[in-house]
């Protein structure tokens, strides 16, 4: 409120000073953001979820860096499609930015049946905040004690070993398809579209033998000895599960992760983009923000816009390769 009042006061004063000449009109990049004009940070998911929480954590730091109000606006629906469409179709003036997450942001424009009104080219990445790699785990009393055992067993009995996902074309489903494709194993996905907690409950009840999930989700299960994690689909080991070897250490080239970051509609003026990117970096690398993210089990892994763009392109390529395998028939 105080901020609003001071912003209004400043706005009124500057109007008075310029004799109401041209407060609006063409906006020069140097003046971004204009005094008193707030920036919308669109979150394509409901309030309270991890994406929303992350956005609300960086919001105060962004405000400080940019010197204007940043409003987190939730536009949930259709697995992110509604909010993403809003971001992609907004005016590229820097006053609308948004949270994006993979696989949804990558997959929605790739999947024709969804009829998305935007494509990859309509978005320009600003920064990556989090990478949450996927892991594969089995029951603690399972006969398989290495990734090799499990994959060989699945090869021997194609289609018989079930593995959890959080829905058709979700990150886990892509991971399973990638594993099947590159290792010759043949896991059958069981889709728990309700989400990760449903999937892990079915795993705990031994209704499904293999759990595929994010590091942040299996940490607690591992600590309680209720799951044996056999491999992590990342280029390096995780700080949270340091004892778990990566897939590539065990001779299989599979990398799969859920990633979250921020993007803007494509075509921002360079100076505006630069300002937003710098503010993003400051906010994401803010120590307090990092600590709070850690408490949520999410490891901060900042990438600037260029790196994030490359990462995004790589994910797009990976997903495209297995897309026919995961699409509804």
């Amino acid at each position: 409120m105080k901020k609003l009042i001071s912003a209004l006061t400043v706005g009124a004063l500057s109007l008075a000073a310029t004799g109401c000449s041209s407060a609006s009109g063409t906006q020069s990049a140097d003046s971004f953001p204009e005094n008193g004009k707030s920036i919308e940070l669109v979150v394509a998911f409901s309030p309270g979820g991890p994406v929303d929480t992350a956005a609300r954590l960086i919001q105060p730091v962004l405000e400080k860096e940019l010197g204007t109000n940043v409003e987190v606006v939730n536009k949930p629906g259709a697995g992110g499609q509604i909010g993403y469409t809003a971001i992609a179709n907004a005016k590229p003036d820097g006053y609308t930015i948004g949270s994006v997450g993979s696989p949804s942001i990558v997959v929605i424009p790739l999947d024709e049946s969804r009829g998305a009104a935007f494509s990859r080219e309509d978005l320009q990445p600003l920064a990556r905040q989090v990478v949450d790699p996927l892991v594969i785990a089995v029951q603690p009393d399972s006969p398989y004690s290495t990734l090799k055992d499990l994959l060989e067993a699945s090869k021997a009995k194609p289609g018989e070993i079930n593995a959890t996902t959080t829905g058709q074309m979700g990150g886990e489903h892509f991971a399973i398809a990638q594993i099947n494709e590159s290792t010759g194993a043949a896991f059958s996905p069981v889709h728990f579209s309700e989400g990760a907690s449903q999937a892990s409950t079915a795993f705990l009840g031994k209704h499904v033998g293999v759990l595929v999930g994010n590091v942040s989700e299996v940490v607690d299960l591992t600590k309680q000895g209720k799951a044996k994690v056999l491999g992590i689909m990342d280029s390096k080991r995780s700080d949270i599960l340091p004892e778990v070897p990566t897939f590539s250490e065990q001779g299989y080239e599979v990398i799969s992760a859920t990633a979250r970051g921020y993007a803007a509609p494509a075509g921002l003026p360079d100076a505006v983009a630069k300002k937003l990117e710098d503010a993003m970096q400051a906010a994401i690398e803010n120590e307090e923000v990092i600590e709070k993210m850690d408490n949520l089990g999410l490891t901060t892994s900042f990438q600037n816009s260029q790196e994030y763009g490359e990462f995004w392109a790589k994910q797009e390529e990976d997903y495209k390769a297995v897309l026919p395998l995961v699409q509804a028939k």
Binding site: P47, G48, V73, N74, K75, P76, G77, A78, G79, Q81, I82, T85, D111, S113, R114, G115, A117, G159, E160, N162, G167, Q168, M169, S188, P189, V190, H191, F192, S193, E194, G195, S197, Q198, T201, A202, L204, G205, K206, H207, V208, Q327, A328, K329
Partner: protein, 501 residues
């Protein structure tokens, strides 16, 4: 010991000032809904769900539960003071309650009713505590096939809710299933019935549908009757029952609790059945049965205890098995699902603390209801002096705002309005709304668990025959479906004027 510990933890959580506030506000709103003659408990809860959507899960469910049992008390007030029951479960109370008002003993009737509600509600909640652990511990045994069978049991209750015409009930149920199909197929990801509208990819919003079908259509089809409202607010002194009143009420409290609790457990029974049966029991067993109908305290104490015991008892199948036993509970279950909580055995496995917090809050809510209602009787009666057009306007505004805030989108407001008109149409055609809510809530769960099961079995239906729990449940569902043939349904006389079904 485990149960006691967890319950104490639950109390600790439920006693935070926010949660106490939610319980308090819930009781208050519930009572208001009970008092207002235009709005029944189903519509009332449906109306208020949007209000709770942005709260955290514990707060939101605590508040909705409080609204739920608050309505059962609110109806009593108008029954006793005005001879116009606020809702069906309190209709029978009007007989002796209003006679007592004429004798200047309205305060006594209301106080006894409040105590009866408190006793019935609390004892039923103890039953929930005792049942929760053994049934809840089955949680991990319930995999997708078992869950599917449970949902089938729930859907079979359609038979019990059918009322007079089975065909009409089936039409309503099929409509609910159809609506629940809209949106992205939960397993294969293909869009269904979305007509290329992005907004429909998520399906039609449950809350908007419920608010429309129950709330809006109720307002739209309201016909003001000729009710001369004459209110005598009782003075404070007349609130206090005599020792004689207490002595006569005690056996009625006991009978009411027993009847209400047992009926609450049986799926398909509504609160009005409990209160009617309890009145019947008083007529048969009370020492003062001759006075019934002429202002006997038993005629208030019995039914009022029974309908609150019923309300709390009916939460047992919901919490432990995920079966909504009445339309009101089905709406409540929808609210659980909105918060990402699936009621049933897995609730205790996945969200143990939360489940116990809610149970603890039921005890607290029953106390709040008692504390709240005795002193506020005068206030409640004055609500009835607000002219209906103003009241309806306020409620309409509330509904539009509520629908908008679901997704912060006007789309849901239109969904609400369209389904309001659908609701009016259904009412005109005499098609019951309850089966529709039931299938609307259970349809997606049934589809999902069926397809998860088939994923697990690689497409073979044998999986349902291989598992003992699944078999038992499916046979049970079959029994419920054929029960009308065996005449095990609730007596036809009760079904006719039961607005809950």
């Amino acid at each position: 010991m485990g149960v006691v510990n967890e319950l104490i933890l639950g109390f600790a959580e439920a006693m935070t000032w926010q949660n106490l506030l939610f319980a308090f506000v819930g009781c208050l709103l519930g009572t208001v809904i009970g008092v207002l003659p235009g709005i029944g408990p189903v519509a009332g809860i449906a109306l208020l769900i949007p209000l709770t959507l942005n709260l955290d899960p514990a707060g939101s469910i605590i508040m909705l539960c409080a609204i739920f049992y608050g309505t059962t008390y609110g109806g009593t007030i108008t029954s006793v003071l005005l001879n116009t029951p606020g809702e069906a479960a309190s209709a029978i109370t009007a007989i002796d309650g209003y006679q007592m008002t004429k004798m200047g003993r309205a305060g006594v009737a209301l106080t006894i009713a409040a105590f009866g509600s408190f006793i019935g509600g609390s004892i039923a909640t103890v039953g929930l505590v005792l049942a929760a652990k053994p049934l809840g511990s089955l949680g991990l045994l319930i995999g997708p096939p078992e869950f599917f069978a449970l949902v089938v049991v729930g859907i079979s209750l359609l038979v019990a809710l059918a009322g007079r015409s089975m065909v009409r009930a089936l039409i309503s149920g099929a409509l609910g299933l159809l609506i629940s199909m809209v949106g992205i197929d939960p397993v294969m990801g293909a869009p269904r019935f979305t007509f290329s509208m992005e907004r429909l990819l998520d399906g039609v919003s449950f809350v908007a549908v419920i608010v429309g079908v129950f709330g809006l259509s109720e307002i739209l089809s309201y016909r003001p009757g000729k009710k001369p409202v004459s209110v005598h607010a009782p003075g404070f002194r007349s609130l206090l029952p005599t020792r004689q009143d207490w002595k006569r009420s005690t056996p009625s409290f006991a009978r009411g609790t027993g009847i209400g609790f047992a009926m609450g457990l049986i799926p398909g029974m509504t609160g009005s059945v409990s209160s009617l049966l309890s009145y019947g029991a008083e007529k048969k067993f009370s020492k003062h049965r001759a006075e019934l109908g002429h202002g006997a305290i038993e005629g208030v104490a019995g039914p009022e205890t029974a309908n609150n015991a019923h309300a709390n008892g009916a939460l047992i199948p919901l919490f432990t098995l995920g079966i909504p036993a009445s339309p009101t509970i089905a709406v409540l279950m929808g609210a659980f699902l909105q918060q990402g909580l699936t009621p049933g055995p897995t609730l205790f496995a996945e969200h143990g603390t939360l489940a116990w917090t809610i149970i603890a809050s039921l005890f607290i809510g029953n106390v709040l209801l008692l504390v709240l209602n005795v002193p506020l009787v005068g206030l409640w009666t004055s609500i009835l002096r607000v002219p209906y057009p103003i009241l309806a306007g306020l409620i309409l505004m509330f509904m539009v705002v509520g629908a908008y805030t679901i997704n912060f989108s006007v789309f849901d407001v239109f969904v609400m309005i369209i389904f309001g008109l659908v609701g009016v149409g259904l009412r005109h055609l005499d098609i019951p709304l309850a089966p529709m809510v039931l299938t609307l809530v259970l349809g997606p769960l049934m589809e999902r668990s069926l397809r998860e099961s088939l994923d697990i079995s690689h497409g073979s239906f044998i999986i349902f025959a291989e598992r003992p729990i699944t078999m038992v449940l499916l046979v049970l569902a079959l029994l419920i479906i054929v029960s009308p043939l065996l005449k095990l349904r609730k007596p036809a006389a009760l079904a006719v004027d039961d607005p809950e079904s």
